[in-house]
């Protein structure tokens, strides 16, 4: 602290005494706090709770025995009628969240009192008219470091806000927007904070950008490194793209990453290659699309990668959040990564080396029939888009999509919200027509409001599945009539919270899948739940429709 600042604080202290104020110690969210977020279960400091992305709360006030007594505490309704996909941050009694902007409208970023839901401040940002995100004007969350909040925008800007006031500290261009589709970058996920860096991925894969992951200095927004998810000429992997297709190959990044401090690696999933459903112009494996990439956090240099779906022609984005787990694997401790992929397969990878340990279908899959020794999927011949149509399972929208899963160290189970029984009749050169859910009326894409559902089970349904990570076998499941875009939260009292397109927010027994409680929220749930506590009272929140709901036990 400078001498001038000390004097300033001293004179402020004197003034406060005169005004009868009692000074408190302001707490900043240091990176050490983010790294050890498990030490402060009353807070929720990053998108999935910790940098391991387990979306597991250590709070135990709400239990399977009393969860039936949950009641609504407050609702915060956003101005925008877009889907509300963000998970809020909870920091010492204050919630921070944001809602995406309507067309020609503004983002709303708010600091809410975690007890009453009343706003302390609101910041609004109007993205440039050139912003054309492919699949919704959404944001999945904020990040915090020190006293600063970070948001990415659909016009590819990275903005730093003062967490006490909502004032803008800096606003930088994370990618240059232009008129062509190949310039249509966007940021739709919560930034990842590692040390003094803000790390984001650029979306736009469906539009044919060449995507990248970049680290920015948290102090001033200066770009520190950039990793292109498609290698350039002369770089290893560029040969997996025929001709010039690497220039417009997509591989967008639109969900948050994870960090392992011992390995000093950040992990991000990458999206589909472009064009999505016709791979003839981009022959080859199309690295590093549909992959997880492990990058050195200091330099952005690739340490390893694993490609889930080589030469994807069905749009199997691999932008699920990586879930990091330390567990016993075949008799010895191992640092692994769990991943339930849009392509219908669940995976266990060694997160230090990238070694493929196990892969298994967790929904009906017909595009592959096993793995070779290296973990490369063995395709079923003919399961590609054709002029006459071909049933490919899972559907174009996937066995799961971006909704965040959960791992409970208490039960040892990995929980995924999935779509079952859905397939794709892909048509050459056209948007694939869907069998099942997409073909029975109504859009399968998430929306804010409820939509009619007339599906039979064979048309497709949503399901919460509990998987044993040691075998990837299913332990139990909870079926919904309609599909789901809701994420999963577990707690140390063996509760699981989730919701879906039907608008129910529900609690299950994490050991059995039994339904224990539900609330109809009147809008689709397109977000991951989270939990926090204030003054010893536990709250559970979820966004549904265009509002954020907070529940706690009746008193």
């Amino acid at each position: 602290m400078s001498a001038a600042r000390r004097r300033s604080v001293c004179s402020l202290g004197a003034a406060l005494v005169a005004l009868g104020m009692v000074p408190l110690v302001a707490q900043q969210v240091s990176f050490d706090r983010l790294l050890r977020a498990d030490r402060e279960p009353h807070n929720w400091l990053s998108y999935s709770g910790t940098l391991f992305n387990q979306r597991h709360s250590l709070l135990t006030q709400v239990t399977p025995a009393n969860v039936k007594n949950l009641e609504l505490q407050w609702v915060w309704q956003a101005r925008s009628l877009e889907k509300f996909e963000a998970t809020a941050l909870a920091v010492d009694g204050v919630l921070y969240t944001l809602q995406g902007p309507p067309v020609q409208g503004r983002y709303q970023v708010v600091a809410l009192d975690a007890v009453t839901g009343r706003p302390f401040w609101t910041y609004e940002y109007q993205p440039a008219n050139e912003a054309r995100p492919c699949c919704g004007r959404v944001s999945r969350g904020l990040a915090i470091l020190g006293d600063t909040l970070f948001m990415g925008t659909i016009d590819a800007r990275l903005i730093a806000l003062d967490a006490r006031t909502g004032g803008v500290l800096w606003n930088v261009e994370a990618a240059r927007l232009g008129e062509k589709n190949t310039d249509k970058y966007a940021i739709t996920h919560a930034p990842l904070i590692v040390k003094d860096k803000v790390i984001v991925g650029l979306a736009g894969g469906d539009l044919g950008v060449r995507a990248y992951i970049a680290a920015f200095d948290a102090k001033n927004g200066k770009e520190l490194w950039r990793f292109y998810t498609i290698p350039g000429p002369g770089e290893k992997g560029n040969e997996t793209w025929s001709g010039e297709s690497w220039r417009t190959g997509g591989a967008g990044v639109w969900n948050s990453g994870a960090y392992d401090a011992e390995a000093n690696l950040v992990y991000f999933g990458t999206g589909n290659p472009a064009p999505d459903w016709d791979g003839r112009s981009r022959l080859g494996d199309n690295l590093y699309s549909d992959s997880v990439v492990a990058l050195d956090v200091e330099t952005g240099v690739l340490k390893w990668h694993y490609q889930f779906t080589p030469h994807d022609e069905v749009d199997y984005d691999s932008t699920q959040v990586p879930v990091l787990v330390d567990m016993e694997w075949q008799g010895r401790p191992r640092k692994v990564m769990l991943w339930a992929n849009r392509n219908g397969l669940a995976y266990v990878l060694d997160r230090v080396s990238g070694e493929f340990l196990l892969g298994k279908a967790y929904v009906r899959v017909n595009w592959m029939e096993g793995f070779d020794k290296s973990g490369r999927p063995q395709r079923v011949p003919g399961k590609i888009p054709t002029r006459d149509g071909e049933l490919i399972m899972p559907t174009v929208l996937g066995a799961t999509n971006w909704a965040p899963p959960s791992f409970s160290p208490k039960t040892g189970l990995f929980y995924v919200s999935a779509w079952e029984n859905t397939g794709t009749m892909a048509v050459e050169g056209q948007f694939p027509r869907g069998f099942g859910v997409a073909g029975t009326g109504g859009t399968p894409m998430g929306q804010a409001t409820l939509t009619p559902n007339t599906k039979k089970e064979e048309d497709g349904f949503g399901v919460i599945r509990a998987l044993d990570p040691k075998t990837l076998d299913k332990k139990w499941e909870f079926k919904m009539s309609d599909i789901t875009w809701g994420g999963v939260l577990t707690t140390a009292s063996d509760l699981l919270f989730s919701g879906g397109k039907e608008g129910y927010f529900f609690a299950l027994d994490a050991r059995t899948g039994d339904l224990l409680w539900k609330a109809a929220l009147g809008g689709q749930i397109n977000s991951g739940p989270m939990s926090y506590s204030v003054n010893g009272k536990q709250y559970v929140t979820v966004a549904a429709g265009n509002a954020l709901f907070a529940f706690a036990l009746r008193q």
């Binding site: 402020l12 104020m21 009192d113 007890v115 009453t116 006490r164 006031t165 803008v168 500290l169």
Partner: protein, 257 residues
């Protein structure tokens, strides 16, 4: 365009403005004041406190790039101008009318003039003798308790700033009001009010913490009548006041698009 032509065009649009100000007869002083607040928080960042910082446009003098009626202006305020940085603000019609009424009133008022002082000396006073950073913040330095002044020159006129220094109680904007709560344990907390409802109150306190209180948990609560901002009438001499105003007027940061 030659200067004579510009003058003629300016005259023409000014006449058009004056001739179309039928809405004025319905606007009260309170309406104009409200319009001013809306202008300061939504428009001044680009147009400047006097409305003359966008090339070719002087809102306070009714000078535009083309002829405008009040209805034209209300429409533009609400929907913006496509292809330009002017965004739509989606105000209710009545609020847009009040902004137009405020702009008309600005034309009759004294213009900002920070030239009498020395901004560099004012900066030194801000950090030193004036102890302004005790409560205010500029470009990330100083306290968050009072209003952030990083951009105050873009939002407030020199005469308004001078008045705030000499008579801080004369006008305290709603967003700068202070509130005091006394808990059942007798602990008093005072801070800048951020939000207030029938049952709760939210503020930023002297340690720059965001605080929320349930009124039923309090022994006492209410607005602090006097501004915590001291008058500088007897603390700084007229030249120092002019220097400080010059510095504040110089604090202009246009918003990033």
């Amino acid at each position: 365009m030659r200067p004579t032509q510009i003058w003629i065009v300016t005259l023409a649009v000014t006449v058009a403005w004056a001739g179309a100000s039928l809405l004025a007869q319905h606007n009260t002083a309170a309406d104009i004041e409200d319009g001013g607040r809306v202008f300061q928080s939504n428009c001044a960042n680009c147009h400047g406190p006097d409305g003359n910082e966008v090339a070719g446009i002087d809102l306070g003098r009714g000078q535009f790039r083309r002829t405008m009626t009040d209805q034209d202006l209300i429409q533009i305020i609400r929907t913006g101008i496509p292809g330009t940085p002017m965004p739509g603000n989606n105000f209710p019609v009545e609020q847009a009318e009040r902004v137009v009424a405020y702009l008309r009133s600005v034309a009759a008022s004294k213009r900002s003039d920070g030239a009498a002082g020395d901004a560099a000396r004012g900066h030194a006073l801000f950090d030193g003798k004036g102890t302004c950073a005790t409560c205010h913040r500029v470009s990330g330095a100083g306290s968050r308790l009072g209003p952030d002044l990083t951009n105050v020159g873009q939002l407030r006129k020199a005469i308004d700033l001078e008045r705030a220094l000499l008579e801080p109680d004369a006008e305290v904007l709603g967003q700068n009001r202070f509130y005091r709560v006394v808990g059942r344990d007798g602990v008093t907390t005072t801070g800048r009010l951020l939000n207030l409802d029938t049952f709760t109150v939210q503020m930023i306190d002297g340690t720059e913490q965001l605080r929320s209180f349930v009124k039923s948990d309090l022994r006492d609560h209410g607005f602090v009548d006097k501004s915590p901002m001291p008058s500088y009438k007897d603390k700084l001499n007229p030249q120092e006041i002019a220097d400080l105003v010059s510095y504040l007027v110089s604090l202009k940061v246009k918003a990033t698009p």
